[in-house]
């Protein structure tokens, strides 16, 4: 089975631990537990501010995992995913905000939309499916592009989404804030969705399609010659990743309770991209990158106020990216998931202990 090689490096020969999906589940479990432990710890011991910081981290992590599922695995940089996040957020907001508020805020909206007051989970699911459908249609021509043209095309998607949201006065309030969205995103809801996103991103990565997509990252022609339908796996990843980003948008909308089109533009895109660039092109990389960026940003934000140095965090984050690109161009974790890296290290130690010095993964 081709995807066996996706779960465990070909450079780490040894006993395979069951089917690929079982190893993906096992590999994801560690990260999921870490996320849930963070949620429990911050909820138990953190201040209200810490709760907000941690919840924001989980939400951005979901979007980063969405972006990773396409950009990390395909090698095509996408600027569109924050746009998908916006669409998910607005869709869920429109379906859940009390009709009484919508009568004031968007009096010219269609009646069916005005009267819609769906359950958070139902609205969230509809929003995710809707965004996946939109992404699928957009993706059909877009996945045929490679390199810089593909990246520029995704900027076009972001700009189009922003322009539509900013000018749909009767539905989104245009450039004005859409307010009154029910507050449903707690730290545990955000952590649970983030854990789910880790699982989905990891399962896709280790699947046949994920392996094919990752091979196309290295050599498009080579992977096509090996039987990979690159357009198909890219379209699958694009659609799936848009759905994950949309889930992040749903969480964001019901956390902030207010949405503005201007929030979903280049600044947030840069933040999310930084997370996956620093972490590396794996699900674990997205988690590690999101943690580092979130923690560093928060510490530096507080340092800015303490030392009266506005803008310090932006400068330091820029330096962070620069140093990472120089020292670890493929991100801190490189191409490794944490569990495969640990397994490789463990085997290396075992070989050293048994007198074998050759081979070894995880470096």
């Amino acid at each position: 089975m081709a995807n066996d090689a996706g779960a465990t490096s070909a450079a780490t020969p040894g006993r395979q631990l069951g089917p690929w999906w079982l190893r993906s589940l096992g590999g994801s479990a560690g990260l999921m537990v870490v996320l849930l432990v963070i949620a429990v710890a911050v909820n138990a011991a953190g201040s209200p501010t810490d709760l907000r910081v941690a919840t924001t981290f989980f939400i951005y992590l979901v979007v980063a995992l969405g972006l990773q599922t396409f950009t990390g695995y395909s090698g095509i940089i996408s600027f569109a995913h924050v746009g998908f996040m916006a669409l998910g957020g607005y869709a869920s907001a429109l379906l859940t905000t009390p009709a009484l508020i919508k009568q004031t805020s968007i009096p010219d909206a269609p009646h069916w939309l005005m009267s819609a007051e769906l359950n958070f989970w139902v609205a969230g699911a509809i929003a995710v499916v809707l965004v996946m459908l939109i992404a699928f249609v957009i993706g059909i021509p877009l996945v045929r592009l490679n390199g810089a043209p593909a990246a520029v095309a995704t900027i076009g998607v972001l700009v189009i989404v922003n322009t539509i949201l900013s000018n749909s006065d009767s539905i989104t309030r245009g450039a004005q804030a859409f307010y009154g969205i029910p507050a449903k995103t707690t730290i545990f809801v955000a952590a649970a969705v983030a854990a789910g996103a880790v699982l989905v991103a990891r399962l896709f990565r280790d699947s046949d399609s994920g392996l094919g997509l990752r091979s196309s990252r290295l050599d498009v022609l080579g992977s096509e010659a090996s039987g990979v339908n690159v357009d198909r796996v890219r379209l699958l990843a694009w659609t799936l990743s848009a759905g994950i980003a949309a889930a992040g948008g749903v969480l964001f909308a019901h956390y902030l309770t207010t949405l503005l089109p201007s929030v979903f533009m280049y600044n947030l895109t840069l933040t999310i991209l930084t997370m996956i660039i620093i972490g590396g092109p794996t699900a674990s990389g997205a988690v590690v990158g999101a943690m580092i960026v979130s923690v560093a940003t928060e510490f530096l934000r507080r340092a800015e106020d303490t030392f009266s140095a506005p803008g310090l965090s932006t400068v330091v984050l820029g330096i962070f990216i620069l140093v990472t690109m120089i020292v670890r161009p493929s991100g801190l974790l490189g191409r490794w998931e944490i569990d495969t890296w640990l397994r490789g290290r463990w085997r290396q130690v075992r070989r050293v202990q048994s007198g074998t010095t050759t081979g070894g993964g995880g470096s």
Partner: protein
């Protein structure tokens, strides 16, 4: 050698992952215990003026834009606020009972960061929250404050719906709102005898879309005619085509709903197109940066706040306090809006006889005319002037530009006869 290098890098990656996980769970919590403690000493800006001296204190928190595009307007207002706080404290504090303290934190012109900063300030025990100069960006933080029974005022955001968008009675504006300003520009244009106008607007922000809409409505009511309008996107740098169209349309007056750097680029392109028609700018241009626009300022006027020297004003005392604190004149007229923030809260606390958030908010909602740094201000009677509860009635200033000295010259102050909705 290579093997050692790779091993080191792998360890670095793993170590970073572990450190990040631990830091998020424990480090932020530890850091947070600092900022959310009752003292908030670690990340608190210094208090202003003489500070507390054994009596009570009234603590104001400002989730301020110190970076990002709103810093351009928030930062001068902070200086205006600090000067007025110092003046009030030097005079014995609010009603001789409460010294005012100010704590500011950077919300980076970001709505989500603004909410986090608002929560941080509330955890530090503030009595009132000031948010940034954009009601839409302010909203998430404002809602958190209102839910915790804390009065919240946008520093100079102009969305008149803001007070209704947060739980009553806690939301307030510090200006008379976009519709009032649009109406004021229209009435001033009519007074000058202009019959036709060309509008520049942008859907990028509520301010730049609602202001021209209000102007158009009031201008038409007064018999004026709109001969053309153009759209731009905030951040645009090239207005040559628009400028050519405007000059060709030959309007009596040009009304661009823009602010620097956009308005500077627009005015420069107008000059290049040979425009000689008058221009009326909005209060977003009340900043020293506007003098970079050059020659078109000779035929421009600006509707803004501040510079009022009539009765019922603390302008002179505020200006003296400002010069004493900062050693010079403020760079903009609307710096006085910062002084108004302190005047309004002080008047409300005095009227409430308490620092309780609900009592102060209710007192501010009903506050009759009181002297402010921009002139006489009223919240309690503002509905009589076509404004909504929580939106103050303030005097607008008509200012011209003294290019050689790079200063503003106030030629008159007024409030429109009618505010369109």
């Amino acid at each position: 050698m290579t093997g050692r290098w790779i091993t080191w890098r792998s360890r670095a990656g793993a170590a970073a992952a572990v450190v990040a996980a631990c830091a998020l769970a424990a480090g932020v919590t530890a850091c947070g215990s600092n900022s959310d403690s009752s003292t908030g000493a670690a990340s608190t800006s210094a208090g202003t003026g003489t500070g507390s001296s054994g009596g009570g204190t009234y603590k104001i928190g400002w989730a301020e834009a110190k970076t990002g595009y709103l810093a351009l307007v928030d930062q001068p207002l902070e200086k205006g606020l600090r000067a007025e706080i110092a003046r009030i404290n030097d005079a014995g504090g609010i009603d001789g009972k409460y010294k005012i303290e100010l704590e500011t934190r950077d919300m980076k012109t970001d709505a989500a960061t603004g909410a986090t900063v608002a929560q941080e300030l509330l955890s530090d025990g503030i009595d009132a929250l000031i948010t940034t100069c954009d009601t839409d960006v302010s909203l998430p933080g404002a809602q958190i404050a209102a839910q915790q029974n804390t009065p919240v005022i946008s520093s100079c955001g102009a969305g008149a719906q803001f007070p209704q968008q947060v739980p009553a009675p806690y939301g307030f504006l510090n200006v008379s709102g976009t519709e009032a300003e649009g109406s004021a520009i229209a009435e001033y244009a009519n007074k000058k005898g202009y019959k036709t106008a060309y509008i520049l607007s942008s859907n990028s922000e509520a301010y730049t879309s609602r202001l021209p809409a209000a102007f158009e409505k009031r201008f038409k009511e007064l018999g004026g005619r709109i001969v053309g309008s153009a759209q731009y996107k905030i951040g645009d740098t090239d207005y040559r085509a628009t400028a050519t169209k405007i000059v060709s349309a030959n309007p009596d007056v040009i009304v661009p709903a823009a602010f620097p750097p956009d308005s500077i680029a627009f005015l420069k392109n107008l000059a290049a197109a040979g425009n000689t028609k008058p221009i009326i700018l909005n209060d977003g241009n009340d900043t020293p940066a506007i003098f970079g626009a050059g020659s078109q300022l000779k035929n421009s006027t600006m509707i803004t706040y501040g510079g009022y020297t009539g009765p019922d004003s603390t302008a002179e005392q505020w200006l003296a306090a400002y010069k004493k604190m900062f050693g010079g004149e403020p760079g903009s007229l609307q710096t006085a809006l910062g002084g108004d923030l302190a005047d309004a809260l002080a008047a409300a606390v005095k009227a409430a006889g308490s620092t309780d958030g609900t009592k102060v908010a209710n007192a501010l909602r009903g506050l009759p005319t009181f002297p402010g740094a921009t002139g006489p201000v009223t919240y309690g009677d503002s509905t009589k002037f076509g404004l909504t509860p929580g939106v103050p009635k303030k005097m607008f200033a008509v200012a011209t530009f003294d290019l050689p000295n790079k200063s503003f010259k106030v030629v008159e102050s007024f409030f429109p006869d009618k505010v369109v909705q």
